[in-house]
Symmetry: C2
Subunit: 410 residues, 2 copies
């Protein structure tokens, strides 16, 4: 219902966006190919492309493209002009901050990584921290200063409804600080905050073409448990939507102690610290370990795979928590695919029997059948890819769609 009036201007915007989308999705294309991809006529394609070219957003590829096709006038491919824009992407994690500079073509230009400790943001204001890294990065690529259009930040935690801040975060001293707004004002650039789980979903969409238009729930299992969802290829809403607090969905009332301070969350059974706790029969009300070395987690999996009973039991409990979580989710949102990513993805087979059983015990699971559950090991790739594509898409659609047509090229 939130529709707006259409006029010839919005028509042009829409179709420009369509062309840019097609280019994002399929890469360098000829005008003819773009016309058939978007459904626009060749004539309109020429007009729109001429606009985009004069504005410097796309460029014709000079490199020969020996496509095998030989006859006829050779097609000239167009693609994004890499230096038309840049974006700075922050990925804030509990123990690491990563800043990447990317260009309009989606190519990684430079990257800075910094370790974080629980006291990092007690010592320096988040906005200042981010601003410092950004200065350092831009000092190494001065050309990007003028074309930097957006700053995007991936965070963990619960966002404000307006998406401008964090209400809660596992990253210490980050919640409550209005760093997005501050940084935006300091730099005069739009700064967007993205929940990590949501980017997971966005990234999964881009990394697997089969998922691009599907309804997917992407679950991260590792030091935390998180989930992002897409709905028929869409991630709804501008703000926090598409992200969930799956890891902090209640599994057992008044159950195991979670890192968030609550009790009985799925995370408190399925995150690495929880598996560790259960494998060593530590009481489930014992405070979670601050960090679990990857090696230790890995060793637990090996022990379980080789039949160790307490380790197996711990992974069974994790599977049960995830299984009931998914079963409960299915009552509200029924995706066609479920993706498990992160360190815990390797343990999927250890958990699968319990997951399947939990889903089968629910009405939706028994009638619609269990959705396909696939494991992808690496989670940093979808998160970065998600942040990248989301930000480039924002530039395409928000920044570069409504630009006034300076002059029509005849």
């Amino acid at each position: 219902m939130t529709r707006t009036v259409s006029d010839s201007d919005s028509v042009r915007r829409q179709n420009r966006g369509l062309v840019l989308s097609a280019l994002r999705m399929q890469g360098a294309q000829s005008r003819t190919a773009l016309a058939s991809l978007t459904g626009l006529s060749h004539a309109s394609m020429t007009a729109i492309m001429s606009d985009l070219l004069t504005q410097g957003l796309v460029a014709e590829l000079t490199a020969d493209r020996p496509d095998g096709r030989t006859r006829g006038r050779p097609a000239t491919f167009v693609n994004f002009a890499r230096k038309a824009a840049h974006a700075a992407l922050f990925e804030l994690d509990v123990n690491r901050a990563r800043l990447s500079l990317i260009d309009y073509g989606g190519v990684l230009v430079d990257r800075i990584e910094t370790d974080l400790t629980p006291t990092t943001f007690a010592g320096i204001a988040p906005c200042q921290f981010l601003s410092d890294r950004l200065d350092a990065l831009l000092a190494r690529t001065p050309a990007a200063k003028k074309t930097l259009r957006r700053i995007a930040i991936s965070v963990q935690g619960i966002l404000e409804r307006d998406g401008r801040g964090l209400r809660w975060s596992p990253i210490q001293h980050l919640a409550g600080a209005p760093f997005a707004t501050e940084l935006s004002e300091a730099r005069g650039l739009p700064v967007t905050l993205h929940k990590r789980g949501r980017l997971l979903a966005e990234g999964a969409r881009w990394l697997d073409p089969a998922l691009h238009e599907a309804s997917v729930a992407t679950v991260f299992v590792g030091s935390t448990v998180a989930m992002g969802v897409t709905f028929r290829g869409q991630i709804m809403g501008r703000g926090d939507e598409g992200a969930t607090e799956f890891g902090h969905m209640n599994h057992v009332p008044n159950g195991a102690l979670c890192r968030c301070g609550m009790r009985g969350c799925i995370e408190a059974y399925a995150a690495d610290y929880a598996v560790l706790r259960n494998a060593y029969s530590v009481p489930e009300t014992a405070p979670p370990a601050p960090a679990v070395p990857a090696q230790q987690y890995e060793m637990l999996m090996q022990r379980a795979e080789s039949g160790d009973r307490s380790a197996t039991h711990a992974f069974n409990l994790a599977g049960r928590a995830i299984g009931f979580g998914l079963s409960r989710m299915l009552a509200i949102y029924d995706p066609s695919h479920i993706l498990i990513v992160g360190p815990g993805a390797r343990a999927l087979e250890l958990m699968r029997p319990e997951i399947d059983q939990a889903i089968k015990a629910s009405l939706v699971g028994s009638i619609n059948g269990a959705p396909h559950i696939i494991a992808h090991r690496d989670e940093t790739e979808p998160i970065f890819k998600g942040l990248l594509m989301k930000t480039l898409n924002d530039i395409d659609q928000v920044d570069f769609a409504p630009l006034p047509t300076s002059e029509r090229a005849g």
Copy 2:
């Protein structure tokens, strides 16, 4: 990403749809008022309205509208032409079928009600049953035969992914029968199937203007437990979406026996039969009562309100089930309003302490705070209103938007 090409035709469609929407939402309006409501210019308004008038979709009101305003040329109000279209709305319930004939103005023209028994659809094919009622209804209003454009059916249960049939339904012998397709072919009209819970959400939107653009979860509590959701005023998707299986979300693994045959569903603790079972200390694995007389349910509430311990306990269990269900839902979908409707809405105060406690025990509930939970007693009103508005909206946007402009009135 599922966007399509824009051209002048789609612009006209969009703006026509906008005008019809405004009319649906605000009722009879002058052209000037519609222009400012939609954001269209007066000139376009004249053109579009002239189209709609010549096509007979709207009509100018002749009745004097002494608005109090006196000066200036009096506005001529336009509104839907009631006889421009009709729709047949079926509401299929476990023990009742209701068929309503409505006109394009949204006015109820006629209605037929029929009792259903568990064996009704064993004796007569659902398509035949519906067709018979429809014939009976149209016999009483022959004028509607020519203008009948759509048949919409409200059902309970789990729909196929394509929305063309039922996979499972509490209404006996209904699942599996392709009655929507059959009826559509027999009548040559589009037949749409709508899940009851979804209509509940749609109806709630229309009955309370404050909820029209909000994110609302509407929960029905009575003989079953169901929920429909809206997301910023939108009900996504064309099919089953916006509907949930909240009532069959697992509450306690391997818990109380539900009418659906599974165990531990929320419904098995919070529906009328469950409260009854618990109030009388019947084992929770005992088969659910087929139907609970309204009177008996009412009496239970009175007993609980006057302090009866076993009745109070039963409502506490119901509140706990709903509370944990809501708490778990909040991890995935966080609405701004929660509406409780149906017979159980009257028991909200009996259940509220347990509901609040369950929500407070979750991370999202404790950080975002519990959403406002409001009770509305009657549920048939939102369901019918939802079916009505959804169907009229379909006629507006699908049937009457893409019509070729026969001739421009100059």
